[in-house]
């Protein structure tokens, strides 16, 4: 398979995943805020901007974060490269360069998602609230997963999609947990540990609220939420689950056996997974959650870079 096609598949999946994740977080936070007092607004909206990695750009345009500003910025802004509309646009551009490779249904699906997203009027949606818009994105992303799974041969190209999807998901989950903790621990006393609305929102945004209750049979406790999102072996949005998928994808492409590795990306993925399997959440908290997650994010970054080095780029030899 052509390197360029592999690269486009990888990014196609990443952009779709980023759009879906952003939509989930936006939607859930908006509705949580409805039941909050005004002085706590900031606690909800600031993390979202930090998470998108676009705080500086946001402050320049809006100053203070509020529901309207965050919604517009994360959903519609052309000058925010991570906005949902931009992600869908870039996903479609990537799909367009490989439309001979992907199935016709996949192309029609991503193309129609693009037209759907662009038919929304930002002004109307901002008046109506983000639910309708975010729902459309989430549904669109799920549908694309389904169409892909059902119509694309599960060969190397499919593996690159899988790797893109799950490395993006691992990173987004790591950022979500990191940012929430960070902000809560910085908050004035009295609203940190006991405040479980925030954590309910986190769980709901990754669709893990019910699963949490099934597993822990307890009230919402930050440590358990973190444990669930970082190391749950089977919840599809946990970091561990995501990295397991990345590992399977990488092995399917290179043919490496368990216990060995063909490139740096596989070595690092294996290393991350070892930790996720054998660390205990109490140990992680002792070491410091922030530095732990930060290290995870750096490793994910290196894995992405090495995938590019191993499969996408050719040194100029002519």
């Amino acid at each position: 398979m052509l390197s360029r096609i592999a690269e486009s598949l990888f990014w196609l999946a990443r952009y779709i995943e980023r759009a879906e994740y952003t939509a989930r977080i936006l939607d859930v936070n908006f509705h949580t805020v409805l039941e909050q007092t005004k002085d706590r607004y900031r606690l909800h909206w600031d993390p979202l901007i930090v998470m998108a990695g676009e705080e500086e750009r946001f402050r320049k345009s809006y100053g203070e974060a509020d529901a309207q500003a965050v919604f517009e910025f994360l959903a519609f802004r052309q000058d925010n490269p991570s906005s949902i509309v931009q992600c869908i646009t870039k996903a479609r551009e990537n799909a367009r360069t490989i439309r001979d490779y992907i199935s016709r249904e996949m192309w029609e699906d991503i193309n129609s998602l693009y037209f759907t997203v662009n038919r929304f009027s930002p002004a109307e949606e901002m008046a109506a609230g983000p639910h309708r818009f975010c729902d459309a994105i989430r549904f669109g992303s799920h549908r694309f997963h389904g169409v892909t799974d059902a119509t694309l041969p599960h060969d190397e190209g499919w593996e690159f999609l899988r790797i893109g999807w799950f490395i993006e998901r691992a990173e987004m989950t790591a950022r979500l947990v990191d940012v929430q903790y960070h902000i809560l621990y910085d908050a004035p006393a009295g609203i940190s540990g006991a405040d479980n609305h925030q954590w309910m929102a986190v769980l709901k945004s990754v669709g893990a609220y019910e699963a949490y209750h099934r597993k822990y049979h307890s009230s919402i406790e930050p440590e358990k939420v973190a444990e669930m999102l970082i190391m749950h072996p089977l919840h599809p949005r946990s970091i561990r689950f995501s990295m397991t998928e990345v590992q399977s994808g990488l092995r399917a492409i290179s043919g490496s056996e368990p216990g060995s590795y063909a490139n740096e990306a596989e070595r690092l993925t294996g290393k991350v997974l070892e930790r996720l399997r054998y660390d205990k959440i109490t140990e992680i908290f002792q070491l410091g959650l922030h530095s732990y997650l930060n290290e995870m994010l750096q490793m994910c970054g290196s894995i992405g870079e090495d995938i590019a080095r191993s499969y996408f780029y050719y040194a100029v030899v002519a």
Partner: protein, 487 residues
Amino acid sequence: MPLQGLFGDYQVGSFYDEMFAAPDQPRPHYAKIFEKLASMVPSQFEERRQHADLAFLLQGITFTVYSDGRGTERLFPFDLIPRIIPHSEWQRIESGLAQRVVALNLFLQDVYGKQRIFADRKIPRSLVYSCKHFLREVIGIEVPRGIHTHICGIDLIRDSKTGEYCVLEDNVRTPSGISYVLENRLVMMRTFPDAFQAYEVLPVNHYPAELSRILRSLSPRGGDDAQIVLLTPGIYNSAYFEHSFLAQQMGIELVEGRDLIVDGGIVYMKTIHGLQRVDVIYRRVDDDFLDSLTFRPDSVLGVPGLMGAYRAGNVALANAVGNGVADDKAIYAYVPAFIRYYLGEDPILRSVDTYLCSKKEDLNYVLGHLPELVVKAVGESGGYGMLMGPTADRERLEEFGRRVKADPRNYIAQPVLPLSRVPSYDPALGTIAGRHVDLRPYCLYDGEKVTIVPGGLTRVALQQGSLVVNSSQGGGSKDTWVLFGED
């Protein structure tokens, strides 16, 4: 039968109308579709039209128009009323096109080879050598199996009085449009299944398989496992949809210049498991951009060193390099002579009368009759560098006259041809009206026989009174039906 419903205000006019022999009197092969349409309520038709548009939009069968800094995507308008060609009429077209393709191929073999035609004084060497797309770099290259014109799109129009088919233009470089032929048929079958049931229409969908067979046969290494690729300039090219469509239909890789590399005279593509040899390139990149070491040094669309690999016979290109000389508009006037010279036959299809401004008496005639003529720059295509005499204002006529006088070799002129008309739906009027059409059949040549998918692309000038069928100027297309029989 009086005209009614969608045909309410239909005017047959003074042009050759392909559906009507006279007002109220459809030709036999259009009778059934006419009845069907005439019995439809406008809103029913409109509903089907919207279904068809949506199908094209969802598949991204659009072309991009750049304005206000943002590209907007437009549909290539599709008209739901098919153009119908009876079988006997098609057989004549088919044999005429085949004859022409073979002659053009022999001409290209000759001018880039032994050059007998100059020695026999059938065409001046200076005329050929001064063609914009004649490439001296190609002289002496032996192309695989002697084929230069693997894919030709030859434009036909119909005489406004007799309805006779004439050749307007030969496109033997990288003609596009076949994807619309195939997609139009699919959408048409989905939106108007009942119309097909009334006719026996010849299928068109064997084109990709036939093209793939020909490409495979060119592989310098032989065998069935030839690596074939389609080279595209990329997603910003207006024909990108077609490139990806054909690659997918043929099951070959769609590559851009940056995916390929030449090393030691061999072309490779960059895959996730290392370099892989490429045998045949169906290239949709123009000659000038193919190889920055041989042609335009600023090109990033091609592959540096490609011509070296081609010359060494390590890779086959389709179409061959240098074909542009054969569809030069000045050379066009000589194609009937090529048919007589190379094949010893009379041309089956007529050409349009052409004045070569490089000839003194023709130049004088052209300058004296500009308002009646169409003047075209010889090396251009797609409606660029053209003067439409009857509709041009005085200033434009004078300006063009000066241009022709300054560089007569660069221009030819032809009488204005009122193209034939086919009934087409006008969404603004909500009724059916006569609109001008041309026809581009696609010819595939494997060195022995010419295969033409029945019909081709019917382009239609959707604006009232317009003769310009180009998509950039409000043109659209129709599904073209060649019938199994006569009606």
